[in-house]
């Protein structure tokens, strides 16, 4: 699960990470008082930041033509003016795709005097199943480019999960970032706090880019997280009720939300051939084989081990809400799942949705003979496939290019 920047900063602050003075605003009415508070707090600038679950906001463009999802205002008036241009409008960035995302929340932040920009992240290293802290002096830029062009600029410190992060490790990272004096210790403390946020919240990744050395109004310098991105392990949400509440349904595709209500795992893609499959690996392979024969998959859909009549019908309805869908391929390998149960579910779903587009069904496994009989006797015009390849070829052919 992803959360917004302002929520990520709230979590980080909870664990003692320095973040700028900032206030979220969900409507224009909230913007003025928030901007005033920030201006009064001694900041000469008010930064207005669009909150969406995607990066590249600064360089993005709104569909209205307004440029920039992150703007620096020199007055409260200007901040409100920017907010008016952003709230409720759709922002398109390199990461949102052409459809963009509607901005429903803004984050108003005190402008900071940035002296240096670093990169800091915590994630799981799948190669050794250890938490990994990555830091780089090349902050504020595309870290993947840094990794490619100058990998030596990325410092890595693995954490032993039996021990947790040791202070000396945090100091190694502070040293790698070139921090000195008071900043050295402040930086080490921040790294430790960021790691604790990652561990305690069951995060998949905590990314701070940029992590900054900023000059405070009194001339002193400190280390602060100016932007933050946190994604959470879905499997652990059950033990974080407060984080569950941070879920933003507006950032999720409506069909995917609908599917999850029926314990269906659904991801919408761009193509015209919808799939309904049991098992994630088989579902991915089904998408692949459709493409292999020249078709384009419209979705990933794993009905899992259940697939009751209700779930199959719900799955059909969700599939059919996608206007791009011109044909459906059902590929089921009934292990413990009974092929006849699925067949009965398919017949009911076709009737209930008044299905008009071509349907190809491939059943294999447990009780397949009865399942095929149910389909044959249903009176429905559907096409049966013998193997995965046969079924995929048939659906691609019948849908056409």
């Amino acid at each position: 699960m992803n959360i917004h920047e302002y929520q990520a900063k709230q979590l980080l602050a909870k664990y003692g990470v320095s973040v700028p003075f900032e206030i979220p605003a969900k409507s224009l009415v909230e913007v003025w008082p928030a901007a005033e508070k920030i201006a009064v707090n001694g900041s000469t600038k008010v930064v207005v930041k669009s909150q969406i679950h995607a990066g590249g906001r600064g360089k993005g463009t709104f569909k209205t033509g307004f440029q920039g999802g992150v703007k620096v205002a020199s007055s409260v008036d200007e901040a409100v003016g920017f907010a008016e241009k952003m709230l409720g409008n759709v922002l398109v960035t390199k990461q949102t795709g052409v459809e963009g995302r509607q901005v429903q929340t803004l984050l108003l932040a005190a402008g900071a005097k940035i002296k240096k920009e670093f990169y800091l992240a915590v994630l799981l290293d799948r190669a050794n199943s250890r938490p990994l802290v990555m830091a780089s002096t090349e902050g504020g830029m595309d870290i993947e480019e840094v990794a490619e062009k100058s990998p030596e600029k990325i410092f890595k410190e693995w954490i032993d999960p039996a021990v947790g992060i040791m202070p000396f490790q945090a100091r190694k990272i502070a040293a790698a970032l070139g921090l000195k004096g008071d900043l050295f210790n402040a930086g080490a403390k921040l790294v430790t706090s960021v790691y604790h946020t990652w561990w305690e919240c069951d995060a998949s990744m905590v990314e701070i880019n940029p992590l900054c050395v900023v000059e405070l109004p009194d001339g002193k310098e400190t280390v602060m997280a100016l932007d933050a991105k946190i994604s959470l392990d879905d499997n652990a949400l059950y033990r974080h009720k407060d984080i569950q509440e941070m879920r933003d349904l507006n950032e999720e595709a409506p069909l995917e939300i609908e599917a999850s209500k029926f314990s269906l795992n659904y991801i919408k893609l761009d193509g015209s051939i919808a799939c309904l499959v049991n098992g994630a690996g088989l579902a991915m392979a089904t998408m692949d084989i459709i493409q292999h024969f020249g078709g384009s998959p419209a979705n990933f859909l794993d009905v899992g081990g259940g697939a009751s009549k209700e779930q199959v019908t719900a799955a059909f309805k969700i599939i059919l809400q996608d206007p791009n869908v011109k044909g459906i391929l059902v590929n089921i390998f009934g292990g413990i799942m009974d092929c006849n149960v699925i067949a009965t579910g398919i017949v009911a779903a076709v009737k209930e949705t008044h299905l008009k587009i071509p349907l190809v069904v491939r059943l294999e496994g447990n009780n397949v003979v009865a399942g095929k009989k149910t389909l044959a006797e249903s009176g429905l015009s559907l096409i049966t496939g013998d193997s995965m390849a046969d079924a995929a070829q048939k659906v691609v052919k019948v849908v056409g290019k």
């Binding site: 392990d233 098992g279 994630a280 998408m287 998959p297 081990g305 413990i336 995929a392």
Partner: protein, 300 residues
């Protein structure tokens, strides 16, 4: 000979009284698996009855092992408690612990894996896996050892080793082999999680050393680097023909495709990279999932 489990391996089921565990304990017993004990905390002293057999239930794995000599466990415990169940199995000295449970938090598995470091006695398979099947010699391969949720009847006793991250995609490969008269020595589902106990390579090393296994099918998917790791080793060390299939070539990056571990992130873990690694290692590549068995059999 098979690997990990033999037809007569004594199996205990953790979570035998839950509906999921009970169902699959029954199916395993029907298959001929030696289910000798169940473990459900608080239900020790009760019995699990099926097919005329009475399986004793214990409060702890240690007690179950002491009383019955069980050597392997199937874990059907809910996600919130499964990490604990795994470590209990290891603590009791089991040889194989197969965790079927899906949805275990990654942090829990990071701690489990760390706790199991250096433990040479217990092998963890999974979590989030369909389990292990060593087929038997009876009708529909009955008489074998079935740990987990795979359909027993699709198997056939033979010489092909199958290792996979997926469940139903594995059944496809197994069924293709059986339909062509090519049986299996052992089929191992390592599961779809990013942190697990056994990798593709771990299983392939066992197949390489198993006199009964003469060919190997390896089924992978996007995310992580386990297939690449295996391919590199296979190139230098594997004495037997290997064919493979990678699912997810059409999956978009950044999206988790069902399995917690099936996600392309930071450009790593793509199907293309895995297929390239297979090619480099001389692994036969099944272009479509329908050709997994044929691809291997052609090489043999």
């Amino acid at each position: 000979m098979s690997i990990l489990v033999k037809p007569n391996t004594k199996l205990l089921v953790q979570g035998i009284t839950g509906s999921f565990g009970a169902r699959h304990a029954q199916l395993s017993m029907d298959y001929g698996t030696q289910v000798v004990a169940g473990v459900t905390p608080g239900k020790g002293g009760q019995f699990f009855e099926h097919g005329g057999k009475r399986v004793p239930i214990f409060d702890t794995v240690a007690e179950a092992v002491k009383q019955t000599g069980a050597a392997a466990s199937a874990i059907f415990v809910p996600a919130a408690f499964a990490a604990d169940a795994i470590l209990e199995g290891a603590d009791a000295g089991l040889e194989v612990v197969v965790c079927i449970t899906e949805g275990i938090p990654v942090r829990d598995m990071v701690r489990v894996k760390r706790a199991l470091e250096g433990n040479t006695k217990t092998r963890l398979v999974g979590p989030n896996c369909p389990g292990i099947v060593t087929p038997g010699e009876g009708k529909d391969s009955q008489g074998g050892c079935r740990i987990g949720i795979a359909p027993g009847y699709i198997h056939k006793k033979g010489n092909i080793g199958v290792v996979s991250r997926s469940g139903t995609l594995t059944y496809e490969a197994v069924w293709q082999l059986t339909s062509r008269g090519a049986g299996q020595s052992t089929c191992v589902g390592i599961g779809g999680d990013p942190v697990n106990g056994t990798s593709h390579l771990d299983v392939i090393k066992l197949f390489n050393d198993d006199p009964e296994t003469t060919g190997i099918i390896m089924i992978g998917e996007i995310g992580g680097g386990t297939e690449e790791e295996a391919a590199e080793w296979i190139k230098k060390n594997c004495k037997k023909p290997v064919a493979g299939f990678i699912a997810g070539a059409t999956a978009p990056p950044g999206r988790r495709m069902g399995h917690a571990g099936a996600i392309i992130s930071g450009g790593k873990g793509t199907a293309a990279a895995k297929i390239a690694a297979f090619k480099e290692a001389g692994i036969g590549i099944a272009v479509t999932p329908s050709e997994m068995a044929d691809t291997l059999l052609k090489m043999m």
